[in-house]
């Protein structure tokens, strides 16, 4: 698979207005006002479509989705490791 982190970063910068803000990989997307309740739905849809995964309700936790680093880790775990 391609580079999960660059795909996630591209999705976030294209879909959420960051006003030129550059987020650290471990910055909370909710605390920085990037991700709201609608944004979470959009993020899940992106993960499911881009990586052909089903994100079950029990996985929709901040520890899986609330920073670039966490999203990448979650997606890579679901795909079976960093090399897919």
């Amino acid at each position: 698979m391609g580079d999960v982190e660059s795909d996630v970063r591209e999705f976030i910068s294209e879909n959420f207005i960051l006003d030129g803000q550059v987020l650290a990989v471990d910055a909370s997307l909710t605390s920085h006002g990037v991700l709201d309740s609608m944004g979470v739905l959009e993020l899940i849809m992106f993960i499911e479509q881009r990586f052909s995964l089903k994100v079950p309700d029990e996985d929709t936790l901040p520890e899986n989705l609330d920073s670039v680093e966490r999203i990448v880790r979650y997606v890579e775990q679901r795909l079976g490791g960093p090399d897919g």
Binding site: T30, G33, D36, S37, M38, V40, L41, E42, I44, M45, D57, E58, T60, L61, P62, L65
Partner: protein, 334 residues
Amino acid sequence: MADPDVLGFEALRLPDAAATVEAIVDELRRTVRGFKRRGGVLGLSGGIDSTVVAALAARAFGPEHVLGVLMPETDSSADTLRLSRLAADAFGIPTVLEDITPVLDAVGCYRRRDDAFRKVLPDYGEGWKAKIVLPSVVESDAFRLFSVVAVDPEGAEHRARLTAEAYLEVVAATNFKQRSRKMLEYYHADRLNYAVMGTPNRLEYDQGFFVKNGDGAADVKPIAHLYKSQVYQLAGALGVPEEIRLRQPTTDTYAMPQSQEEFYFSLPYDRMDLCLFAVDHGLPPASVAAAVRLDVEQVERVFADIGAKRRVARYLHASPVVLGDWSGPPTAAG
């Protein structure tokens, strides 16, 4: 001796509900006179908020200068119309019945909503009933994602998480209901030279539990500064019929019965009120945990949810933004 940093429900008690009624009545009368309008129009739903506003308006203008508009539609609960009439009769307010089902049909409200439901429940169709629901914020720190819960004509329940697209389309379609009602309230207000009164309480107003340019639109909002618990206190002082005071708050938007907690708030209104009061007064989660029967971590999640809803509500509260150097209309002298 009670700990001053620990709140109980008495924090929400108005010192003198009758005096609050008189103060609102006086301000309502002055505000509407200032608009050069002769009375007030409001939509009656049979719920506590619209009934209290109707009673306040009847005192402010005299009942003959208030019009209650009854606007049921095909998904309204069976009680809505009867309790709306009970409210109007209790305060001698004239009413007009405007069934908005044909308006909603014509604009495609039901068709568009059902098309959106079918994106996640492909079999949804004729004879089904549905509502959208949110999981509890107190039971887990998972993101709260809307699901549709539907019952098919055979009585079997179906449930599916909404996609972003389906969720937005369901909300956009059902918002026709609140906007059609407001259109009719303004029709009657213009016809009678009255002002339109909005009926949100503080919890709803603060947290954005309204449709922009729908039930969020009004010329005056007499109870938007009062917690819902305080609206109930006014109801007692105003003599609102007991059946209305005991009615469970509902959204009355979907065909299946839906509580406000399922759809929007984290907790029942009285506990939600106390949490909002604590946030408003800069008090920590521990100050209300015992009263709302939650642990501190759960209250922290409720407080975080209050903050998140306030961020979403900023757009709902915003007036149209005029760009450029417009500084207002010319004065008489200018």
